[in-house]
Symmetry: C2
Subunit: 141 residues, 2 copies
């Protein structure tokens, strides 16, 4: 059974589910920073997924990056599977802007996380509802 890594659970807010991945919002208002987690057990590298799951992961991450770029007016999307600390396979999909707190550096380790207010999360959820329509199930927020 799929269980979200405790560290991911602590540092993020669940948004909803693609066919393969749980979509999380990293609880750091410095950046619109999303995380895709395939709902599979004991996977830490992309190539450990079955071939069909790999294709699905790439489709979901690419679709998400494209939709977020429009929805959040990104200057650049950053897509990364690192996992040095949290072993459970997860893919960061991050909206980057020229004026954000870390630009042009990668975001990790640059700024202390600034948690969202409930209103901010509701606004992001609302924005996502406009761009993630088919093949996505929103969780109760």
């Amino acid at each position: 059974m799929f269980t979200l890594d405790p560290r991911l659970q602590q540092d993020s807010l669940p948004i909803g589910d693609f066919p393969l991945c749980r979509l999380l919002l990293s609880n750091d208002s410095n950046y619109p920073w999303f995380i895709l987690v395939p709902r599979r057990e004991d996977i830490s590298e992309i190539f450990q997924l079955g071939v069909a799951d790999q294709q699905q992961l790439w489709q979901e991450s690419t679709l998400l990056a494209q939709r977020l770029k429009d929805a959040f007016d990104a200057d650049k999307m950053n897509v990364a599977a690192l996992g040095n600390v949290v072993k459970q396979l997860h893919v960061h999909v991050i909206v980057r802007k020229h004026e954000d707190a870390a630009w042009p550096a990668p975001i990790w380790g640059k700024q202390p996380a600034t948690p969202y207010s409930a209103e901010q999360v509701a606004a992001i959820r609302e924005r996502l509802r406009l761009v993630l329509a088919e093949d996505f199930t929103f969780l109760e927020g």
Copy 2:
């Protein structure tokens, strides 16, 4: 016509070609750090590639990560498309080890690059020859 970004050209060594991507070795001996660059023009985001190219990119990056993990005995593979500085689409595929210079942080901005000696590059090329067989063309080193 495909032309490699001057910054990528300056900071890396060309290794060879997959069907879609040029494979580069980042000239930083702190990590076995490879870069895939789709040989296409004017692409900065994965979703700007055609669908067939997207699939090919993911296949090449996943195959490469799998082969490098074995060849270099990685503790974790890091795969990332960032591109905040170099606009030309490129995917980092990095061998991470628990004892490397940045672990567990992402590698970017952690250590000044330490260029390889000619012998070190030859050794890496040789190691790659053992694991990248079909569907890969080595460039003259």
